[in-house]
């Protein structure tokens, strides 16, 4: 059998030009993969269409050309096969990063994820570590047809052993993915599809230096997994969100400010580990909380967060913790999805329900605005 080198190939293909200027979420993920592959020859990327095509969302664009077909390759069309093979490769010293193409396409791999990836370390009393990342283009808002828009985080978050990450910013897309690849546990990395084309100006060289330093020092958590961020400061109520809902929460907070109400937005960044401390500190300060998520709300991550906040911050709360989530229906057809998704108005209406006293900023007289009226629906 031909021995095949797994060394990074600095062949003629340069790293994608991503330094300086606005960067899309998709390019940030691409840069993160390329940088991790360059930093560690054990990192291999595979899945459906991730090779020459560069993935249906181009997240793996150029990786085969730069690192060779041993490091980034297409598999037969079989999600359980992809996931199960990744488990074995991780057992034998590699760090696989697999792509599941679309959220609902990952379900055939579910047994491999929950029965094997999640449990291998536990089954073997920690003898076998499984450093692998399951990248899932996830959630809705892009007008996709059925099976292309599921929010599946609750299935994974419910499974002990899985780390579940959902970035909401371009900078986090880069830093959290690099940290996920370095983690010695399996990570479900949920990439909000509607953010792929979002652009932000980020200091990529600085992020890259920080991630490279983490590689050198072996600091796994440098990217922020397990630490929530305050996406916007406020004093009247806390909006708790992650992934695709963070931008919606920020839009709601901006609209509320125009109405004289100051909302803080917490971006969880990772669902597991969950950062109780940051969430609690915010809610204790503001005394009110709304949890926002796209997934159906029943038995969901949003439910868990609401319950935790209620249990831990009860004496600081001026009102029950509310949830603004997708309805408990299958993800709708594209022409109906805007009715399903939690939008700015639905969030603001929930905020209005937080039992404001007379004299609180933003009482009832202030709420009806043009913004809500022109949305033409709950959005």
């Amino acid at each position: 059998m031909a021995a095949t080198s797994t060394q990074a190939r600095p062949a003629g293909v340069p790293a994608p030009e991503t330094d300086g200027g606005p960067l899309t979420f998709a390019k940030a993920l691409n840069a993160a993969l390329a940088d991790e592959m360059a930093a560690d020859p054990a990192v291999v990327v595979f899945g459906e269409d991730v090779g020459p095509l560069g993935g249906v969302f181009r997240i793996t664009d150029g990786l085969t050309a730069r690192f060779g077909t041993d490091r980034c390759f297409d598999t037969p069309l079989a999600e359980s096969g992809i996931m199960g093979m990744a488990v074995g490769m991780a057992m034998n010293g590699l760090r696989p990063v697999v792509e599941m193409q679309f959220d609902a396409f990952a379900y055939p791999a579910f047994e491999q994820v929950v029965s094997h990836a999640a449990k291998m370390s536990n089954r073997t009393r920690g003898k076998v570590k499984l450093p692998l990342v399951i990248r899932i283009p996830y959630a809705g808002g892009i007008g996709g047809v059925e099976h292309h828009c599921d929010s599946s985080e609750s299935y994974y978050a419910h499974t002990p052993g899985l780390t579940v990450v959902a970035p909401a910013t371009v900078a986090d897309a880069y830093s959290l993915l690099r940290a996920a690849v370095r983690l010695n546990d399996p990570v479900v990395f949920l990439e909000p599809k509607k953010l792929y084309w979002a652009k932000e100006t980020v200091d990529l060289p600085a992020l890259r230096r920080a991630a490279d330093d983490a590689v050198r020092t072996g600091t796994e958590a440098a990217g922020g997994i397990g630490t929530a961020a305050v996406a916007r400061s406020g004093t009247d109520a806390t909006l708790i969100a992650y992934g695709p809902s963070v931008s919606t929460a920020l839009a709601a907070a901006a609209a509320a400010e125009a109405e004289g109400r100051s909302l803080e937005v917490i971006d969880l960044r990772s669902i597991v580990p969950y950062d109780d401390a940051s969430v609690d500190a915010s809610v204790r300060r503001t005394g009110r909380a709304v949890v926002i998520a796209e997934a159906p709300g029943f038995a969901s991550v949003a439910s868990e967060i609401a319950a935790r906040v209620q249990e831990r911050c009860f004496h600081s709360l001026a009102a029950p913790v509310l949830r603004v989530t997708g309805f408990d229906v299958p993800y709708p057809a594209p022409k109906l999805e805007h009715w399903f998704l939690p939008g700015v108005d639905r969030i603001l209406e929930a905020v209005d329900e937080l039992q404001w006293d007379e004299g609180d900023a933003g009482d009832e007289g202030a709420v009806e605005t043009e913004t809500r009226a022109e949305a033409g629906g709950p959005r």
Binding site: V87, G88, M89, S121, R123, K129
Partner: protein
């Protein structure tokens, strides 16, 4: 098809290095023998096979010693379940030849991927019986370090471990390691999607994996005829472009020859192969099973004369390699293994409750730390 060591791929490799199996001749070359390969029959008589050499006498004597130990382990483990010392034991009584051969054909650098019924194979690979039985005793999900003897944890879902075997082989190939992976499953597992995906992946990536089906005729209560209507399970190989072979699963000589050829073929770059052993589970699925509900006593009795130990014994005695004195020694050795196992299992082991929170994440989450403190305070209160 005969799985011969060192034989080059049957057809010219296509551009991706996978043999082009499109021609009728190539398909013929992947098909299993018309009847299961047998080298020593039920009467202990050896025959000459056109494709497989009878293993040497001393190799068969070693295998026989393992068979005797394996049988003793199965009987002892059943007894320990009846005494309440183990939660459950899926016996491989009647399948010991498959168990012994699976371990014997591998080198130290190779990997074995066993199922829950393959405890004897794991022990034959060198893992301490007490560590093997941790799973079935109920202390922890697996009791051994998979890297120590290159044995994966025993799998309880069906066919899922075949993909892990493929992954280990794929990593080995990418790293340039000289490693062959032998992956075990039963007849029932061949109905699972992961069986299909594992064979397809192994073939497409041309990986050194040998898939070994122990067809013991029943998936718990469902007979093979309700599981598959393929000409044989080995015939499934042709659909993936790999050779398949059938072997008498109660003939340890044939198993050593066929599995050994498949392993060497994989080691030399020939790619994956599928081997189906025809055998029989002489005892119920586990102690919780009532086998009389789905099979007749006559059917079970039919298999008694085909016992893997009896025919090997007859053959070795005929060669003069085995006599009463040597048999007494082997029985004593097996008894010593069983006694150590019994003593170990009779010693009460109280797992540390705090270990619940270990090995879940590399770094304990704040929530798990909190739950560990809760359990600690419960333990402290007594």
């Amino acid at each position: 098809m005969t799985i011969s060591p060192g034989r080059p791929p049957q057809a010219a490799p296509s551009s991706n290095g996978v043999p082009d199996a499109a021609s009728g001749a190539a398909v013929q070359n992947l098909l299993p023998s018309d009847t299961p390969v047998q080298l020593i029959d039920a009467n202990g008589t050896a025959s000459v096979h056109p494709s497989y050499l009878l293993p040497a006498g001393d190799a068969l004597l070693d295998a026989y010693a393992q068979l005797v130990t394996g049988r003793r382990i199965n009987d002892q483990a059943n007894a320990l379940v009846r005494q309440g010392r183990m939660a459950v034991y899926p016996s491989s009584h009647g399948q010991e030849a498959c168990q012994v051969a699976a371990a014997a054909v591998l080198r130290d650098q190779d990997w074995l991927f066993p199922t829950y019924r393959d405890s004897v194979a794991v022990m034959s690979r060198g893992v301490d019986p007490l560590q093997v039985l941790t799973l079935l005793r109920g202390d922890w999900h697996s009791g051994y370090d998979p890297y120590e003897h290159r044995v994966a944890p025993q799998a309880t879902p069906l066919a899922t471990q075949l993909l892990h075997a493929v992954g280990v082989a794929h990593a080995a190939k990418l790293k340039g390691e000289d490693t062959v992976v032998l992956a075990l499953c039963g007849d029932g597992a061949t109905s699972e999607g992961d069986f299909h995906e594992a064979l397809n992946f192994a073939a497409v990536f041309h990986l050194p994996v040998v898939f070994f089906i122990q067809n013991n005729q029943y998936a718990i209560s469902v007979p093979l005829r309700n599981q598959s209507v393929a000409p044989s399970l080995a015939h499934k190989a042709v659909g993936y472009g790999m050779p398949g072979e059938r072997v008498d699963g109660n003939d340890v000589a044939a198993l050593l020859a066929v599995l050994g050829a498949a392993v060497e073929r994989a080691r030399e770059g020939g790619g994956p192969a599928l081997v189906e052993a025809h055998t029989y589970r002489m005892q119920p699925h586990t102690n919780a099973d009532d086998a009389t509900r789905y099979r007749t006593a006559e059917e079970v009795q039919d298999w008694v004369p085909r016992d893997p130990l009896a025919r090997t014994r007859t053959y070795l005695r005929g060669l003069g390699l085995l006599d009463d004195a040597r048999e007494t020694e082997l029985a004593a050795d097996a008894e010593a293994v069983a006694a150590a196992m019994r003593d170990g299992l009779n010693a009460d082991v109280v797992p540390d409750p705090q270990e619940l929170f270990e090995h879940v994440y590399t770094r304990r989450t704040p929530q798990l730390a909190e739950q560990a403190r809760l359990l600690r305070s419960e333990l402290d209160r007594g």
